[in-house]
C-alpha cells in the first residue's frame, strides 16, 4: 500500500476524485524534465524555422535578396524551412505532448525515461546535422525527405525508440477504459516508423524506378500529415477540450467511427497530388474517392469536438489553452473539407501547381496542428513547473499574431493561387507565363506580411516560455492565467 491515495484523501476528502488527482500530479512530476526538453527544443526550432520561412517568403517577391549567398539560395532556404518546422518544431512538440498525454491517460509513471533521453538527443542532433546538410547542398531531391542520407538512419532509430516507449507505456496502463486520445496516439506511434522506413528504403537506399517513385513520395508526404501529425492533433483536442471544460466528450460512438474511418481512408489519399500524371487512372480515381471519403472522419470528429464546445464559448474565450485548441479544431474541419474538394479533378486542375496548394498545406499544418500544440503547451507547462504563465498580455500577442497571421496567409494564397490557376489554364488570354507569375506578386507580398505577424506571435511565445522557466515559484498564485478573470462570488448585504 503506497501512501499516494491516503495523502490525497487527507488533502481533501470531499473532492470527487482525490486519488486520481494526486496520481496525475505524481505523473506530471515524473515527466517534467523530458517534457521540458522536448517542448524547449521545439520552441527553439520554431524560431529557426520562422527565420528560414521569412527569408524564403521575401525571396519570392524580391528574388535578388541574399541571392549571392550560396547557402541561402531559395531552394535550400525553403527546404530548410520545411524540414526544421516539420522535424524540429512539429515533431518535437508532438512527441512532448504525446508522451505526456500517454503517461497521464495510461495512469502510469514515466517508465524507462532513458529511452526517451537517448532518442530526444539523437533526434535533435540529427535535425541539426540535417539542416546544415541541406544548407550546404547535400539535400536529397525528395520532397519531405530532404535530409541528407547520412542523418536519416539516426532519425529512424531515435523515432523507433519513441514508438517502443509508447507501446511499453500503453502495455502498463491502468484502468479498464482506453480513452479515445490513446487510440490516436498509439496508432500514430505505429504509423510513423512504418511510413518513414518504407519511404527511406523505396526512395533513398534502394530507389524504385519511374512513376512508382513519385507515387511513394506522395504516399509518404501526405501520410506524414494525415497519419502522424493529424492523430496527435486530434488526440490533444480530444483530451484538452473536455478536460478544460470539465464535461464529457459528446459521443463515444462517433469517436469510434472517426478513428477507423481515418485509419482506413487516409492511406490512399496521397495520390491526389499526382492527378493528371502518368499514373494508371484507376490509382488516381481510388485516391480521389479516398480523399472524398475523408469527409466521414472529419465530419464525425467535427461534431464530437464542436458539440462538446457548444454552450461554453465564454470559457473557451477566457482560457489560453482552449482558445488555441478550438481555433485549431475549427480549422481542422475547414482545411480537411477544402482538402477533399481539392482532390476532385475539376478543382484540382485549377489549384494544382499553384500557391493555393501551399496555402492549404499551411492551413493544415499551422492553423490546425501548430495551434493545437500551442494550446497544449499552455496547459502543460504550469502543471509541469507548478508556476503560472507570467503574462496574459504576451499570450494575447501570441494568439492574435498567429491566428490573424495564418488566416491572412491562407486567405491570400488561396485567392492568389486560384487566380493563378485560372490564368494558367487560359492560354488564349494569358499566353505569357511570366505575366501570370508577376501577377501573383501582391499575394506573395501579403504572405510575407502574414509571416511577420506570425513571427511576432512566436517571439511572444518564446519570451513567455523562457520567462515561466526562470521566474520564481510563488505561493500566492492560486489561479491560472486567463484572458479575463471570471467574477468571484461575494456576499452582498443590502
Amino acid at each position: 500500500m503506497s501512501s499516494a491515495p491516503s495523502l490525497a484523501a487527507a488533502i481533501d476528502p470531499r473532492t470527487k476524485m482525490p486519488q486520481e488527482r494526486a496520481e496525475l500530479h505524481q505523473i506530471d512530476e515524473s515527466t517534467r524534465v523530458l517534457a521540458l526538453i522536448f517542448l524547449g527544443t521545439s520552441a527553439v526550432w520554431l524560431l529557426v524555422g520562422t527565420i528560414f520561412a521569412l527569408i524564403a517568403s521575401w525571396k519570392l517577391h524580391n528574388p535578388e535578396f541574399l541571392s549571392t549567398q550560396e547557402w541561402l539560395t531559395f531552394g535550400r532556404v525553403r527546404t530548410a524551412h520545411l524540414n526544421t518546422v516539420i522535424y524540429g518544431w512539429a515533431t518535437n512538440a508532438g512527441i512532448g505532448v504525446s508522451f505526456w498525454l500517454m503517461a497521464r491517460l495510461s495512469r502510469t509513471l514515466l517508465r524507462h525515461a532513458g529511452i526517451l533521453y537517448v532518442s530526444g538527443a539523437a533526434w535533435n542532433l540529427a535535425v541539426i546535422v540535417g539542416t546544415f546538410g541541406i544548407l550546404r547542398g547535400d539535400g536529397q531531391p525528395v520532397e519531405w525527405l530532404e535530409f541528407p542520407r547520412y542523418v536519416t538512419p539516426l532519425l529512424f532509430v531515435s523515432y523507433a525508440l519513441i514508438g517502443v516507449w509508447g507501446i511499453i507505456t500503453f502495455r502498463f496502463r491502468r484502468g479498464e477504459h482506453t480513452y479515445v486520445s490513446q487510440w490516436y496516439l498509439l496508432a500514430a506511434l505505429f504509423w510513423f516508423p512504418w511510413l518513414y522506413s518504407i519511404a527511406q528504403i523505396m526512395l533513398v537506399f534502394a530507389p524504385t524506378v519511374g512513376v512508382i517513385q513519385a507515387l511513394t513520395n506522395w504516399w509518404f508526404a501526405h501520410n506524414v500529415l494525415g497519419l502522424w501529425f493529424t492523430p496527435i492533433g486530434i488526440a490533444a483536442s480530444y483530451y484538452f477540450i473536455p478536460k478544460v471544460l470539465g464535461k464529457p466528450i459528446h459521443s463515444y460512438h462517433l469517436s469510434v467511427v472517426g478513428f477507423w474511418a481515418l485509419a482506413f481512408f487516409y492511406n490512399w489519399a496521397g495520390v491526389h497530388h499526382l492527378i493528371g500524371g502518368p499514373i494508371p487512372v484507376w490509382v488516381q480515381s481510388a485516391g480521389i474517392v479516398a480523399s472524398l471519403m475523408m469527409v466521414i472522419p472529419v465530419i464525425v470528429t467535427a461534431i464530437n469536438h464542436h458539440l462538446t464546445v457548444i454552450g461554453s464559448f465564454q470559457q473557451v474565450w477566457n482560457s489560453p489553452t482552449l482558445r488555441f485548441i478550438v481555433f485549431g479544431a475549427m480549422n481542422y474541419t475547414l482545411a480537411s473539407l477544402l482538402g477533399s474538394a481539392m482532390a476532385l479533378r475539376s478543382v484540382n486542375s485549377v489549384t494544382h501547381f499553384t500557391h493555393f496548394t501551399v496555402g492549404h498545406a499551411h492551413h493544415g499544418m499551422y492553423s490546425f496542428f501548430t495551434m493545437v500544440m500551442f494550446g497544449s503547451i499552455y496547459y502543460m507547462l504550469p502543471r509541469l513547473l507548478r508556476k503560472e504563465w507570467p503574462s496574459a498580455f504576451l499570450i494575447n500577442v501570441h494568439f492574435w499574431g498567429t491566428a490573424a497571421g495564418i488566416t491572412l496567409y491562407v486567405v491570400a494564397l488561396s485567392i492568389g493561387g486560384w487566380i493563378q490557376g485560372m490564368q494558367m489554364n487560359d492560354v488564349k488570354n494569358y499566353p505569357d507565363f511570366l505575366q501570370i507569375m508577376v501577377a501573383t506578386k501582391p499575394w506573395l507580398f501579403a504572405r510575407t506580411i502574414a509571416g511577420l505577424m506570425i513571427a511576432v506571435g512566436h517571439i511572444a511565445f518564446v519570451v513567455s516560455f523562457v520567462w515561466i522557466l526562470i521566474k520564481k515559484r510563488t505561493v500566492e498564485e492560486t489561479s491560472p492565467t486567463l484572458f479575463n478573470t471570471p467574477p468571484t462570488l461575494s456576499l452582498k448585504t443590502s
Binding site: 501512501s3 509513471l109 494508371p280 465530419i299 505561493v475
Partner: protein, 228 residues
C-alpha cells in the same frame, strides 16, 4: 493496485518517498493543494447516439464514391491513363485530329516567344520580327530548313540586318520537335499577327527532312538562297 506504478519499480518508490516528504511540510502541502484543486477530472466520453442523418450522409458518400470509381477507373487497366475512357473505348474511337494553330500557338509561346516575342515583333537590333517577314511568308523549303537545323550569321529581314544565332529544333536537336510539331508551329507563325501564308503540312516537313539528311551545324543565310 493503488500506486501509479508497481511497488517494485524504482521510479514508483522514489515518488512515493517524495510524497511522504511533502506531507511533512506545510508549505509543500499548500503547493500540492493548488496543483490538485485547479485540475478538473480526467476527460470521459458521453454516449450520445450517432444522428440518423449522418448515416444518410455516409451512405450517399459511399454511393457517390462507388459510382465515381465505376466511371473513372478506366476498367482498372494498368495502361489506361485518361479518366474519361477505358481501353476498349479508346481503341474504338479514332484520336481527335490536332488543330495545328492551337498546338503551334502553345509551342510558340513556350519555345519561341522569349526571343521573337508573343507579338511576333522580335526585338529591334537583336531578334528579327516574324510578323510581316518575307522569310516567314516566303518559301516553306527555306523555313523548314531553318527550324530543323538552326541559322547563324548575318541575315536581312524587312530591310534590317541581324546577326545572331537561332537554335535547331529538329528531331536530333535538344528540342526534339517531330514533323507534326514543326508543321504546327510554322503554320501558326505563317497565320498570326496579320501574316497569311499557306499551312505547312507534316508530310512536306518529312520530305524536307529526308532531303537534307544529317547536317553538322546551322545554316547561313547565303546557303539558303537556292531554296528561295
Amino acid at each position: 493496485m493503488s500506486a501509479p506504478s508497481t511497488p517494485s519499480h524504482p521510479a514508483g518508490k522514489a515518488s512515493t518517498h517524495q510524497l511522504e516528504q511533502a506531507a511533512a511540510s506545510d508549505a509543500s502541502i499548500t503547493a500540492i493543494h493548488q496543483t490538485l484543486l485547479r485540475e478538473k477530472p480526467e476527460p470521459t466520453e458521453g454516449f450520445s447516439p450517432i444522428p440518423i442523418f449522418l448515416l444518410f450522409v455516409f451512405s450517399a458518400l459511399i454511393f457517390v464514391g462507388g459510382v465515381y470509381i465505376a466511371h473513372y477507373a478506366g476498367d482498372f487497366e494498368p495502361m489506361a491513363f485518361d479518366p474519361s475512357r477505358g481501353k476498349q473505348v479508346a481503341s474504338a474511337e479514332p484520336a481527335k485530329p490536332v488543330d495545328p494553330m492551337v498546338l503551334g500557338g502553345r509551342l510558340f509561346n513556350q519555345n519561341c516567344a522569349a526571343c521573337h516575342q508573343v507579338t511576333g515583333q522580335g526585338v529591334p537590333g537583336s531578334f528579327p520580327p516574324l510578323a510581316g517577314s518575307e522569310w516567314v511568308m516566303g518559301s516553306e523549303e527555306r523555313l523548314v530548313r531553318i527550324l530543323l537545323h538552326g541559322l547563324s550569321g548575318p541575315i536581312e529581314v524587312e530591310g534590317k540586318t541581324y546577326n545572331g544565332a537561332m537554335p535547331a529544333f529538329g528531331p536530333k536537336s535538344g528540342y526534339r520537335f517531330n514533323e507534326q510539331k514543326i508543321a504546327a508551329v510554322l503554320t501558326y507563325v505563317r497565320n498570326s499577327w496579320g501574316n497569311t501564308a499557306p499551312a505547312v503540312t507534316p508530310e512536306k516537313v518529312k520530305e524536307i527532312m529526308a532531303a537534307v539528311g544529317d547536317r553538322p551545324g546551322p545554316w547561313t543565310a547565303a546557303e539558303l538562297d537556292p531554296f528561295k
